[in-house]
């Protein structure tokens, strides 16, 4: 195992039979690297959550979260993002069947749902600012916008990334490289979904309760 990994330390260029196995190991290496990156991303969000919790009562005379959160929109966002996680899973299943059309199709659905999520979130932020709760209103709102916004930024980056992978799938088809890329982006997407569950629970549900 370690032996063949060593022989294949770079991203593959050729895809002939001879080198097929070592590419497989290389892709495994990259997969593991991404898992470790996700650990660091967990710490990043953990720090933001901790900051949010510490500052969650610091309204400084400004509006509280409970006064301004509009739950129907938030619940819609939640279901859209959860569904997109499901469709990204369907994309991976299509890939495992070797169905490139299905794969790209489900990725397009995922991107559209992700874009809908971002649109709703931006609308929500604009409404909040309009109602007098901006990032400089109080420590609470600073923490709110930063935490939720960082998640939104992650989702937006995921959208660009997914589109780039779809183009590569169109060019190269399903091979060991694109397979790894799809697996990684879908892992990333599920991770953002899990983070959102915490945002939903800690920021919104506990905020309005």
């Amino acid at each position: 195992m370690a032996n063949s990994v060593n022989r294949a330390i770079a991203e593959p260029a050729r895809h002939d039979e001879h080198h097929h196995e070592e590419h497989h190991d290389l892709e495994g290496l990259r997969m593991m690297g991404f898992w470790i990156f996700l650990i660091t991303d967990c710490i990043l969000f953990g720090t933001l959550f901790a900051t949010y919790v510490v500052l969650s009562g610091s309204y400084a005379g400004g509006p509280a979260g409970a006064e301004l959160f509009e739950m129907p929109g938030i619940i819609a966002e939640t279901f859209i993002l959860l569904t997109s996680s499901f469709t990204s899973g369907l994309a991976v299943l299509s890939m495992n069947r070797g169905d490139r059309k299905g794969l790209i199709g489900w990725l397009i659905v995922t991107v559209l749902l992700g874009a809908a999520f971002i649109t709703l979130e931006v609308t929500e932020f604009m409404t909040l600012v309009h109602e007098g709760a901006s990032i400089s209103t109080s420590a609470f709102w600073s923490a709110f916008y930063t935490l939720v916004g960082t998640h939104g930024l992650h989702v937006s980056i995921g959208l660009v990334w997914m589109i780039a992978i779809m183009i590569q799938l169109g060019r190269h088809g399903i091979n060991s490289v694109t397979r790894r890329k799809v697996n990684i982006v879908s892992l990333y997407w599920h991770f953002l979904d899990v983070v959102w569950i915490f945002v939903f629970t800690i920021v919104y549900m506990m905020g309005v309760m």
Binding site: A2, A10, M32, G33, I39, D41, A60, S142, V177
Partner: protein, 656 residues
């Protein structure tokens, strides 16, 4: 129009200080000299092809070492400026404002732009060779890490002549570092310089965890890894868990300053102590991140130069890992005086004291390794032996500081300054110097002059004690950190003067090291053996400097100290291990993307510092474009054919 330009320039450039004007001139002249030399000797292509775009871990390691030694020079000059100011009472060498800037940049540069890159340099130079790998797991990412560090460090250093340096201390505590108290751009240089290089550090952590866990040569089980590899693993794991906190903390400070948010402000419900907790949740693990690899280096050296197997291998591994773990539970000991209450302080006092136990275990292991060994006192070993008493005293004063009630007296006094300089110079700097001396022949293929090296060692060591021992006393006498002057009536004069003399002795030690390197380059004493010290681990089994692919065939490592065992077997008349057939070697291609992407980060960071969106936005777009370009590039590797491997190996006099 002309007035406008003049007004802009007077704010944009740092003006009014003869020291700075001198620096302006020297920076300008150096730049002109470099550009002229590169053009005259037609070296631009060489620079781009062989260095700026390289993904070879050995070359990246060399670049890290060069950059960090330059930073050591700058941080050292900062230190000597401060010591000059403090040499006599009521001195007017530096203004208080200038003094604030210098202690800030001294701290940041020494920890983040000297110790960290020197450490990463050693990771890069040694780890793949030590575990029998051909490169790190992600060579492209490795190059990106280096360039992010480099451009981050440059962004930070540019504040020296453009815009003004940060002056709120090396950790930039709010509210002092907030817009309300530091409206200048210095603090923004601080944020973006560290942020950009911090992303690079995080990626290096990921890279080396995967490299060590996945790319070891056949036979090398975890519990057979060399101790330096273990220490890098523990340090890298700590980076993974600590650096994201730094990223967030600096981002929050930036959001406060840029968007008027209220995380750490005094108004709007902000909580400055939150910042201090967060920054030390990173900051305390950070000091272990830099010292753990030094422990690994000492372990390698002490075994090699005692000609004995390292004593207590398992307890060493246990000690490294437990220090990594406990480093996350001690952060509040940096501010016992904050008023968190007795119970909180007790918890953090005890966790701090616990760390002394695994550290003590390591010291005894090193001593027992030397016990009844045939010790040869070469320079790497001298630094190791110099380190042990120094670190013990530093550690002991650390335990004194960890006693929370006593800390109310020691807090922010020169006692603390002396303590952390003793563990960081005596532990980290001595360790990395030892490592550089030890692996220098492997990296460059020639030895460093031992005689000048001994001069450097003794001036550094004596200088260290002369400089910092008086500071313990000064601390107990009531001198607090960061004061830029003191009166004659304090009675601190003699000790401060002594301390300054010690500081300059260390400066002379540094000059000896520079002379040593230049002298050794001139009188090139080649290392033809590949194993000048009688080494024990795999890096000594290949020629010096290592060929681009490191190992022609992957070595089999079934025992600890595989190269030592192999040599012993051969000496006893055994047959050499059968080597597997040569095969084409798969290598990564060079790439200019890391350099260009990091340059875009620099542009974006500079734009954000001055709030110039016309500059920041294109910079960030450039960063994104580079990422996409790399993602779409499928032509990133090549094979070294067997013939070429044979030629290279024959040239290195190791016929296969």
């Amino acid at each position: 129009m002309l007035d406008k330009i003049k007004e802009f320039a007077s704010e944009f450039f740092v003006t009014g200080d003869p020291l700075i004007y001198g620096a302006d001139v020297s920076i300008g002249l150096t730049l002109i000299a470099v550009v002229t030399a590169l053009t005259y000797f037609k070296k631009w292509t060489w620079l781009w092809r062989d260095w700026l775009t390289t993904v070879d871990h050995k070359k990246i390691g060399i670049m890290y070492v060069i950059a960090s030694l330059l930073m050591l020079f700058r941080g050292g000059v900062d230190a000597l400026l401060m010591r000059t100011q403090l040499a006599i009472p009521d001195a007017e060498f530096l203004s208080p404002e200038h003094y604030n800037q210098i202690f800030t940049t001294h701290g940041v540069i020494m920890i983040l732009f000297m110790a960290m890159p020197l450490m990463f340099g050693l990771f890069n130079l040694v780890i793949p060779l030590q575990i029998g790998a051909r490169d790190v797991a992600f060579p492209f990412l490795n190059s990106l890490s280096f360039w992010l560090f480099f451009f981050g460090a440059m962004l930070f250093n540019v504040s020296f002549v453009i815009g003004g340096s940060p002056d709120a201390g090396w950790l930039a505590y709010p509210p002092l570092s907030e817009m309300s108290h530091s409206p200048g751009v210095g603090q923004d240089f601080y944020i973006w310089g560290i942020q950009i290089s911090g992303i690079g550090s995080l990626m290096t952590g990921i890279n080396f965890v995967v490299t060590i866990l996945k790319m070891r040569t056949p036979g090398m089980k975890l519990m057979k890894m060399p101790m330096f590899t273990w220490s890098v693993l523990s340090s890298s794991l700590t980076i993974l868990l600590a650096f994201p906190i730094l990223t967030v903390t600096l981002a929050l400070l930036f959001i406060d300053r840029y968007f008027g948010a209220h995380f750490f402000t005094l108004d709007g419900g902000g909580n400055p102590m939150m910042y201090i907790n967060l920054i030390w949740m990173w900051g305390h693990p950070e000091v272990y991140i830099i010292v753990l690899p030094a422990f690994g280096i000492f372990s390698e050296i002490v075994a090699t130069f005692s000609k004995k197997r390292l004593f207590g291998y398992k307890s060493m591994v246990f000690a490294l890992m437990s220090i990594s773990l406990f480093s996350f539970f001690t952060w509040a000991h940096h501010f016992f005086t904050m008023g968190s209450g007795a119970n909180v302080n007790i918890f953090f006092a005890i966790t701090t004291m616990i760390i002394a136990i695994p550290t003590g275990v390591k010291v005894f292991n090193w001593l027992f390794t030397m016990f009844r060994g045939r010790i040869s006192f070469k320079t790497p070993m001298l630094w190791t032996i110099g380190f042990i008493p120094c670190f013990i005293v530093g550690g002991m004063t650390g335990v004194l500081l960890s006693v929370a009630p006593a800390d109310f007296q020691f807090h922010n006094s020169y006692f603390l300054i002396a303590h952390f300089h003793q563990v960081i110079i005596g532990g980290v700097a001595f360790g990395f110097f030892a490592g550089l001396y030890y692996w220098w022949p492997k990296v460059f293929g020639f030895k460093l002059n031992e005689k000048i090296g001994k001069w450097a060692f003794w001036t550094w060591n004596i200088g260290f004690y002369v400089c910092f021992m008086p500071q313990y006393v000064l601390g107990l006498m009531g001198m607090t950190r960061r004061v830029s002057s003191y009166g004659w009536d304090k009675g601190w004069y003699e000790l401060n003067l002594t301390s300054t003399i010690g500081g300059f002795l260390m400066g002379i030690g540094f000059l000896f090291q520079v002379w040593q390197i230049l002298h050794s380059i001139k009188f090139m004493e080649k290392d033809t053996t590949g194993d000048p010290w009688g080494g024990r681990t795999l890096e000594w089994s290949i020629p010096s400097p290592a060929p681009v692919y490191n190992f022609a065939t992957l070595p089999q490592a079934d025992e600890k100290d595989p190269w030592w065992e192999e040599k012993r077997r051969l000496a006893e008349g055994g047959a050499p291990k059968p080597q597997s057939k040569l095969e084409p070697i798969h290598m990564p291609k060079n790439s200019g993307v890391p350099f260009i992407m990091s340059a875009f980060w620099f542009v974006a960071g500079f734009g954000l510092v001055f709030d110039w969106l016309w500059m920041a936005i294109p910079g960030l777009i450039g960063v994104g474009a580079c990422m996409l370009y790399h993602s779409f590039n499928y032509n990133t590797d090549y094979y070294i054919p067997v013939d070429e491997i044979k030629r290279t190996e024959a040239a290195a006099r190791r016929v296969i």
